[in-house]
Amino acid sequence: MSALAEGVAAVAARVRASADELNRLDAVAGDGDLGVTMTIAASAVDALVPSLANEPLAAVLVTCGGALARRAPSTGGTLLASALLRAGRRAAELRALDGAAAAELLEAAAAAIAERGGAQPGSKTILDALVPAARAARAAAATSTDLATVLADAADAARHGAEATKMMRPRFGRAGWLADRSTGHEDAGARLAAIVLAAIRDAVATA
C-alpha cells in the first residue's frame, strides 16, 4: 500500500473512532447522526483504499469525494464531498505536494463548502474550523515549505476554530430561540474538520 493510501485508511479510522462524539455534538442542535453518516463514509472510503494504492493525490481526493457524495449524502457529507472534489481538481494543477500546496487545497476545500452551503464563518459550521485552518496553512507556508509543519499549524487552527464555535450562535438560531441551547457545545461539523486535519497531520508525520 502507498503512504497516501495508508494515510487515507488512517484518517478513516480516526473518523470512525469519533463517531459517538460526532453523534453527540450533532444532537445538540441537529439530528444526532453525523457520526453515523461519517462511519458510513469511512467504510466507503476503506473499501476504496486498495484501489488507491498507486494513485496520485488528485485522484485519491476525487475518488474519496465521489464516495462521500454517493454514500454519505447528508448535509455534512455532501459539503465534505464538494470540498474533496474541489481540492482534488486543484491538486491536479499543483506541481509539488509541499506546504504551499496544503494551503491551496485547504482554501479550495473551504471555498467549495462556502459556495455549496451558502454559509459564512461565524455561523457555527464546519467553515469555522476549515477557514482558520486554511488561513493558518497559508501563513505557515510563507515561512516554511515543509508539509508536516504547515499541516501541524492547520490542524491546530482547526482545533481552536472548532473550540471557538462553542460560543457561537448556530446558523439557524435567532435571539431567544432554543437554538441558543447549543452555547457551550462545539459544532459537530467543525469538530469533524478538526479531527480530519489532525489525522492528516499525524499520517503525514509518521509517513
Binding site: N23, A27, A29, G30, D31, G32, D33, G35, V36, T37, T39, I40, A69, R70, R71, A72, P73, S74, T75, G76, G77, T78, L79, S82, R116, G117, F172, R174, W177, L178, A179, R181, S182
Partner: protein, 332 residues
C-alpha cells in the same frame, strides 16, 4: 433500544426490501435500489413528481408515491438525504416527457443533492422544476421564510401537485398551483418525547417527563419554547395561534387542517387536539373545510404532534379531494 430491527446499519435497506415485498404491485425500484417509483412509471405525457429524503418519516416520503401523488422517491438513510445519483435515477425513471417537478423538504442535504440532480437531469435533456416545502413556522421567523424547514404540511403539496399532474397540467402550471398552496400553508409541531436513530443508539435529545417543546424539528432540532407540558387544549391553542399569526387570513376563509402524529402519540390524542383546534379556528372566523388526522409524517418513535393549516380556494379544494392511491394513503 426497544426496536424491532436487525443490523442498525441495514435499517433503511431492510425497510425498503419489506416495502417492496409488501407492495410490489404498486411500487418498483428503478436503476438504483434506493430509487422507488410507481410500478407503472413513467406515465407518458404526464408531468412527474419526484421526491425524496431521509428515512424514518414514513409515510413520508416513499409512502406518497402513487396515483394522484408523487411518481417516485429517493430513499436516504435515517434522517439523511439520499444522493444526487439516486435522485437522478428516480428522475429518469419517472420522466414521461412532460418534465419533472422536484418536491421535497427544505433541508441542507436534500437541497444540495436535488440541486445537483437537477443539473445532471438537465444534462440528459430532462426538464426539471423545483419546489421546496418550508412550512414550519417555528424554524425561522417571518421575513426569513426561505430558511424554514419542511414538515408534515408537505402532504398537502403532494396531494395538490399530484392531482394537477394527473389532470394533465403542464410543468409550469403544476408548479404554479403547488406554489400557491405552499404560500398558504403553515405548520408547527410540539414534541413530548425523543427518538433514537438506530445506528446512533441513543436518543437524539432528552425531554424530561412533564415537559414539552414547542416548535421542535422533525429530527429533534431545537424549537422555540420548552416548558411544562400543558393540557391538550392549551397546547392546541398555542399551536393554532402561532399558525394564525403567520398565515395571512380573513374571517370567512376556509382551511384544511392536518393534525399529524410524530410517531408514539396515539390517534386518540390527535383527535383531542383536533377537537380544540377546530374550536379555536372557528372562533377566529375560519371554516374547516376538511380535517386530516393521523400519521402523515413521523419521526421514528418521537411523541408529539404537529398542526398544519392550508388556506384553500375552490381549485385547491377540488385538487385535495381528487382520488389518490398509494400503499400508504388512499383517497377515493
Amino acid at each position: 433500544m426497544q426496536k424491532l430491527i436487525n443490523d442498525p446499519r441495514a435499517f433503511a435497506e431492510e425497510m425498503l426490501e419489506g416495502v417492496l415485498l409488501a407492495h410490489g404491485d404498486a411500487l418498483r425500484v428503478a436503476a438504483d435500489p434506493r430509487a422507488v417509483v410507481r410500478a407503472d412509471a413513467p406515465v407518458r405525457g404526464k408531468v412527474a413528481i419526484a421526491t425524496g429524503g431521509g428515512s424514518g418519516h414514513l409515510p413520508l416520503f416513499l409512502g406518497y408515491v402513487g396515483r394522484g401523488l408523487a411518481d417516485g422517491a429517493a430513499v436516504g438513510n435515517v434522517f439523511a438525504s439520499p444522493s444526487a445519483d439516486e435522485m437522478l435515477a428516480v428522475t429518469k425513471a419517472v420522466d414521461g416527457g412532460a418534465g419533472v417537478l422536484y418536491l421535497f423538504g427544505n433541508y441542507g442535504g436534500d437541497t444540495m443533492n436535488f440541486g445537483l440532480a437537477a443539473e445532471l437531469a438537465a444534462g440528459e435533456g430532462i426538464e426539471v422544476a423545483t419546489l421546496r416545502a418550508a412550512d414550519d413556522v417555528a424554524s425561522a421567523p417571518r421575513g426569513e421564510e426561505p430558511r424554514r424547514r419542511g414538515i408534515a404540511g408537505i402532504f398537502f403539496l403532494y396531494k395538490i401537485a399530484g392531482a394537477c399532474a394527473e389532470r394533465g397540467d403542464s410543468l409550469a402550471s403544476v408548479k404554479a398551483t403547488t406554489e400557491r398552496a405552499a404560500a398558504n400553508l403553515r405548520s408547527i409541531g410540539v414534541a413530548l418525547g425523543s427518538c433514537t436513530v438506530p445506528a446512533a443508539g441513543r436518543p437524539t435529545f432528552e425531554l424530561p417527563r412533564g415537559k414539552m417543546e414547542i416548535g421542535m424539528g422533525i429530527h429533534g432540532e431545537p424549537g422555540v419554547r420548552r416548558g411544562l407540558l400543558r393540557r391538550a387544549d392549551a397546547v392546541a391553542d398555542e399551536l393554532v395561534d402561532a399558525l394564525l399569526a403567520d398565515l395571512p387570513h380573513a374571517a370567512g376563509d376556509r382551511v384544511d387542517v392536518l393534525v399529524n402524529g410524530l410517531g408514539a402519540t396515539p390517534p386518540e390524542e390527535l383527535y383531542v387536539v383536533y377537537r380544540r383546534a377546530h374550536a379555536r379556528l372557528r372562533d377566529a372566523g375560519l371554516t374547516v373545510r376538511r380535517a386530516w388526522v393521523g400519521e402523515y409524517a413521523t419521526s421514528l418513535e418521537m411523541a408529539g404532534a404537529s398542526i398544519s393549516l392550508l388556506r384553500v380556494d375552490d381549485e385547491l379544494a377540488a385538487l385535495l379531494d381528487a382520488p389518490a392511491a398509494s400503499p400508504f394513503f388512499t383517497r377515493r
